[in-house]
Each structure stands twice: as structure tokens, then as C-alpha cells.
């Protein structure tokens, strides 16, 4: 398994974020907080790390003068996550 990927997804918050984004088109920052049970600060750090690895894309816009952050998984993120999940299952079977 890719060591960088393994290291990145070893964090449960990042793992939850990526698992959720895999099943939806896009999700808001607030929803990701709810899904991962993490604080605002923690989520900000984790999604930045995922974005730096090109696993997710962060979009920022304003709605009624309020900032709205939404995240979307990239095709690289999808492929890497699928590989990661397959290797996890293979390890479990061994």
C-alpha cells in the first residue's frame, strides 16, 4: 500500500471525511463537522491536508453574506481511496 496514503488516512477524521465524500456529490463544512464529530479547527486542518494531497477540492463562496465552504472528492481521491480500501480488505483476509 502507498505509505503516504496510509499515513494520510490513518487519521480517523480524515478517513471519515473521505469516506463520506466518496458517497456524495459535495458536502458542506458544517456537514463534515457533523459526520466526523470534529471541531471547526480540526476539520479546517484536515481538509487542508486532503486538499494539499489533491484528494479533495475545496470551494468557498458567499451565500447571504455568510461564507460557505463545500468539499468535493477528486478523481485522484476516489481512485486512491478505492485502492486503500481494497488493500485494507486484503490485509484483513491475511
Amino acid at each position: 500500500m502507498n505509505k503516504d496514503l496510509e499515513k494520510l488516512l490513518f487519521n480517523p477524521v480524515r478517513l471519515k471525511i473521505l469516506s463520506f465524500l466518496l458517497t456524495v456529490e459535495s458536502a458542506s463544512f458544517k456537514k463534515l463537522m457533523e459526520v466526523s464529530n470534529a471541531t471547526k479547527g480540526n476539520i479546517s486542518i484536515q481538509i487542508k491536508k486532503l486538499e494539499d494531497s489533491n484528494f479533495i477540492k475545496i470551494q468557498k463562496k458567499f451565500e447571504n453574506n455568510y461564507p460557505l465552504t463545500s468539499c468535493k472528492i477528486t478523481s485522484k481521491g476516489k481512485k486512491s481511496f478505492e485502492l486503500f480500501f481494497e488493500s485494507l480488505k486484503a490485509y484483513k483476509q491475511d
Binding site: L9, F10, P12, L15, K16, S19, F20, L22, T23, V24, E25, S26, A27, S28, K30, K31, E34, V35, E63, L68, F85, L88, K89, Y91, K92
Partner: protein
């Protein structure tokens, strides 16, 4: 964190994802009521709506356009509140967006040709309702669309029927009742 724990986190998170169908049900109910009220007003005050050929056409174009703008804004607000959108939501949005465009084309072409747009609109509506019902696996909606097809067939066989009454019954069976049933459903897929 062990491999088993990681697999459990992934499975639990994926299982939490649900497509929220409540907004769709509100859309169906809104249009069911909206078109019924419009048809009823037209039925009760035909001399007012049909003052000129264009007044009736404008009535059936402008008011639904306002409805579309209102519902588009409502949907954007609702999905922002929900915080996520699934592929299923996107498919439904595209289907109904295409319906809106098709509806406008039918109304404009019918106006130009001087023909009644109701049978064509009901046909398109029936088609879109059946597609939506099959995609979300909700039988009452699929059945509602099929009932609309029966009405179109009846209209074709007997064109002397009052189009406004047919419109009201068709929209009630195809949109309003399935919309209420979808809204009452406790668990969404």
C-alpha cells in the same frame, strides 16, 4: 488504529449517507397545488383569463415561471441547509430541469401554432414522473405517472373534454397525491 477499525469507520460513515427525499416531496406538493389553483381560477373565471388569446398564454407562462424561480431559490436554500447532495439528487435535478425547458418549449410552440398545449405537457409530465418514481424506487409516483398516460389517452380519444378539469385530475393524481405520500414516508433511501 487497526485495519478492522478503519474498515468499520468507512462502513459506518458510508451507511450514514441517505438521500433526503423531503425536498422532492415538497416540490411535488407545491406544483400539485399551484397548477390546481391556476386551473381552478381559469375554470371559474374563463372570461377574465381568456380576454384575449395572449392573456391566456401569458397566464400559463408567467405564473409558472414565477413558480419555477421561487422553487429554484427554495431548493438551493434547502440543499444548503441539508449540507450535502448525492448523485441521486443530481439526477433528479437534471430530469426536472429538462422538464422545465421542455415545458417552456411546448408552451411557446403551441402558442405559435395555436394549439392546446395540455396533452403534450401532461405527456411530458407523465414521462418525467415515471422516470423519477423509478429512480427513487417509489411506486406511488410511478403509478401516478402511468395514470397521467391513461388521461392523455382518454383526452386523445375524446378531445371534447374540458382540458382544465383533465389537467386538475391529472396533476392531483400524478403530483399532489404521490407528493403527499412521499412526504409522509418516514425512512428515506
Amino acid at each position: 488504529m487497526t485495519n478492522s477499525e478503519q474498515i468499520k469507520i468507512i462502513n459506518d460513515t458510508i451507511n450514514k449517507t441517505r438521500t433526503n427525499l423531503k425536498p422532492l416531496s415538497f416540490n411535488l406538493i407545491f406544483w400539485g397545488i399551484f397548477i390546481n389553483i391556476m386551473s381552478l381560477i381559469h375554470y371559474v373565471f374563463p372570461e377574465f383569463i381568456q380576454q384575449t388569446y395572449y392573456s391566456s398564454a401569458l397566464y400559463w407562462i408567467l405564473l409558472p415561471m414565477f413558480g419555477m424561480i421561487y422553487m429554484t431559490r427554495w431548493n438551493i436554500k434547502k440543499y444548503t441547509e441539508i449540507g450535502y447532495s448525492t448523485t441521486l439528487n443530481r439526477a433528479i435535478k437534471i430530469i426536472w430541469g429538462v422538464f422545465g425547458f421542455g415545458w417552456l418549449m411546448i408552451v411557446l410552440v403551441s402558442m405559435y401554432e395555436g394549439i392546446n398545449p395540455v396533452p403534450d405537457i401532461l405527456f411530458l409530465l407523465g414521462l418525467v414522473i415515471i422516470m423519477t418514481g423509478m429512480i427513487i424506487k417509489f411506486k406511488p409516483l410511478t403509478s401516478g405517472g402511468m395514470v397521467l398516460f391513461i388521461f392523455i389517452f382518454a383526452l386523445h380519444q375524446n378531445p371534447d373534454q374540458n382540458f382544465l378539469i383533465v389537467n386538475m385530475i391529472g396533476v392531483t393524481l400524478g403530483l399532489l397525491i404521490p407528493g403527499i405520500m412521499l412526504n409522509k414516508m418516514k425512512c428515506n433511501e
